[in-house]
């Protein structure tokens, strides 16, 4: 089973974030970056499927030069090859633009399955996987908790709300968005990191892929939410105040 797994590089979780005045994105010059955590679960799932069914895992990422680091991590953990869509203006793309670029690169591969994380830890749109499936014209399922592959078909466990799960079946090839927590991602071992030095990372540009994108949405402004405190005194007798409190808990806080 040949599997393409999409990996994104995002600001490190413990990076101190600074937002320049009026900017639509954080200042990236003095922070560290890491593999998007949800993509780590997709990568692990891809590696496990390969180990069970054979084939190869190709890690695809898009972004500036530094984003190759996410591919290298995938190679160190056991992916066979990497494809880097080199794009310094990656941050200007909306999910549709990202999906178009990824789809164009993935179409060049011979694959049975495409895996993505559920969403990215930076933008958190959670749309790229779905759009990618649409652009590739393939069946798609999200929030995957278990994958059973047999005879060219997939039996999938999806996580619904309130503790409910759903089993669905799809034919291959397909695109899946993996739920975080589906597995325990492996570490990149030191030998794996050494072995990855010899693995190939192909570089493609947006021009080479023949993709032109015009954003359908853009970020106006980003800001840190302001913490506010509001205290309301409920007046009246104890009985009246209690009745008002119950009303508020029912209709405003919606906890009753």
């Amino acid at each position: 089973m040949n599997i393409v797994v999409c990996v994104k590089q995002v600001p490190a979780k413990d990076a101190p974030l600074a937002i320049p005045e009026g900017a639509a994105w954080i200042r990236e010059t003095d922070i560290g970056f890491e593999l998007n955590e949800p993509d780590g679960y997709a990568l692990e799932e891809a590696l496990r499927l390969k180990e069970k069914h054979g084939g190869e895992v190709v890690a695809v990422s898009m972004g500036p030069e530094r984003s190759k680091q996410a591919i290298k991590e995938a190679l160190a953990k056991g992916a066979e090859r990497g494809v880097h869509i080199s794009d310094d203006k990656f941050y200007e793309l909306d999910p549709l633009g990202s999906a178009r670029c990824l789809a164009a690169a993935i179409k060049r591969e011979k694959f049975d399955l495409v895996l993505t994380g559920l969403q990215s830890d930076d933008h958190g749109f959670g749309q790229t996987g779905v759009l990618l499936a649409e652009l590739l014209g393939l069946p798609h399922a999200t929030i995957i908790m278990q994958i059973d592959a047999a005879d060219g078909r997939l039996k999938l466990k999806r996580e619904l709300e309130a503790g409910w799960f759903q089993w669905v079946e799809l034919p291959l090839p397909a695109v899946l968005s993996i739920q975080s927590g589906i597995n325990k991602p492996r570490y990149a071992t030191l030998k794996g990191i050494m072995a990855a030095k010899k693995k190939e990372i192909a570089t493609l540009t947006r021009a080479e892929l023949g993709v032109t994108v015009s954003p359908t949405q853009r970020i106006e402004r980003i800001y840190v939410p302001k913490k506010t405190k509001k205290t309301e005194i409920l007046t009246g007798t104890a009985k009246e105040a209690a009745a008002k409190l119950v009303e508020k808990l029912k209709h405003e806080a919606r906890v009753l």
């Binding site: 560290g32 680091q69 071992t189 030998k191």
Partner: protein
């Protein structure tokens, strides 16, 4: 709050992608496997032995050696692993240092093929644990005065003597023992666990490195095959060559312990409020301590990085490693003390890592060449006059 990456001077821009990846692996491992359990082991005085197979699988044993299943890492990569492990605990880092630099390295550098084939793959996989016997009850800073003797008898050597402060001594499957032969020359010997006349016992009552095993070793007419002699080295330069490897790792490791203390103090100072509801981080005397720490940590990182690059180029002699070990361990111990101060009473309990690191670093300050001995090594280097005797 989880540990936040410490990098004031964009140190990361000096590192390659692979080096950052190695650090990430070690950090993820420490965060997931060490931090949740280390206070318990420290409190109980027990070595987290269940981590050995995991450390092996990740390639942490003999990481900078080539072949025999070892990863063949650069010295900076090896150093970054040590930094992350000691950010977890100096005892755990000590275990890996001993296994890698004091047991695998001498077998690798001074052993014959049969010795390498017998031990290195097992030690790399964590299937065998090693220890290093140089220090004796009466000879610490002056190992050349050792009393342990090896007497040749046909195709055997008979060892007699005592070793002290031996990390992993009682759990080791193989001990690298340094002893003087009849001609007074120091040689290295491999002594297997269970050899008649070889005994190991644990040092109790330690207030430092409580999550690692520290032992004494006694050899009483302990007979070993002559083939267990490490053929490749004679004299004090044998054990000292190993110590240069280990001290290099300690220089990085101590930086990790300092980062752990600094991070704990910084987080605490920003959150702890005193006087008019202001965080203590707003007090000048607290800021002075935090600023001192991050400055010293940054300098220590640069020193470690430069010695690592020199070592990769084959240009780092032991005197440079001495400066690294001396400076960075001192700096880390000072950071631990200042952090304990910032944490106030909370600093003395094991809800926080600071007191544990401080107590650990007291050992690290002394072992593998005391702070003062390293000053004398530097003094010897720059004046040409040895002041040890």
């Amino acid at each position: 709050m989880p540990f936040a990456h410490v990098d004031y001077i964009d140190f990361d821009s000096l590192l390659t992608d692979d080096e950052k990846l190695v650090r990430r692996t070690a950090r993820q491992f420490v965060e997931a496997e060490v931090i949740p359990i280390i206070e318990k082991h420290n409190r109980e005085g027990s070595f987290p032995r269940h981590l050995v197979p995991k450390l092996a699988e990740l390639g942490f044993f003999g990481a900078s050696l080539k072949g025999y299943g070892c990863a063949g890492m650069s010295n900076v990569e090896y150093g970054l692993v040590m930094q992350e492990l000691e950010r977890g605990d100096s005892g755990l880092r000590s275990f890996v240092s001993v296994q890698s630099a004091l047991v695998m390295y001498p077998i690798y550098a001074y052993g014959n093929d049969a010795q390498k084939d017998q031990w290195l793959p097992k030690l790399q996989k964590g299937e065998a644990i090693g220890c290093f016997g140089l220090t004796e009850p009466q000879f610490g800073s002056n190992p050349g005065g050792m009393l342990t003797r090896a007497t040749r008898k046909g195709d055997r050597y008979i060892l007699n003597g005592e070793k002290m402060w031996i990390t992993s001594g009682s759990i080791a499957d193989v001990a690298v023992i340094w002893a003087k032969t009849e001609d007074g020359v120091i040689r290295g010997f491999l002594v297997e666990k269970g050899t008649p006349g070889f005994k190991a016992w644990d040092v109790h009552g330690k207030w430092s490195l409580r999550a690692s095993v520290t032992s004494g070793l006694a050899m009483t007419d302990c007979e070993i095959p002559a083939a267990n002699l490490l053929p490749g080295v004679e004299g004090l330069k044998g054990p000292l060559g190993c110590l240069t490897q280990a001290r290099y790792g300690i220089g990085w490791g101590a930086t990790g312990a300092a980062m752990a203390c600094y991070d704990a103090a910084l987080q605490y100072a920003k959150q702890r409020k005193q006087f008019a509801g202001k965080p203590i981080a707003s007090h000048q005397l607290v800021q002075e301590k935090l600023a001192w720490m991050i400055t010293e940590i940054s300098k220590a990182q640069l020193l470690a990085w430069q010695v690592g690059r020199l070592k990769d180029a084959g240009k780092a002699d032991f005197s440079k490693v001495s400066m690294l070990k001396m400076n960075n361990v001192w700096m880390a111990l000072e950071c631990a003390r200042k952090s304990r101060d910032i944490l106030g009473a909370n600093g003395i309990v094991d809800d926080y890592c600071v007191m544990r690191h401080m107590m650990n670093l007291e050992s690290v300050y002394t072992y593998e060449g005391t702070h003062d001995i390293h000053k004398l090594i530097i003094g010897d280097k720059i004046t040409g006059i040895p002041a040890y005797a």
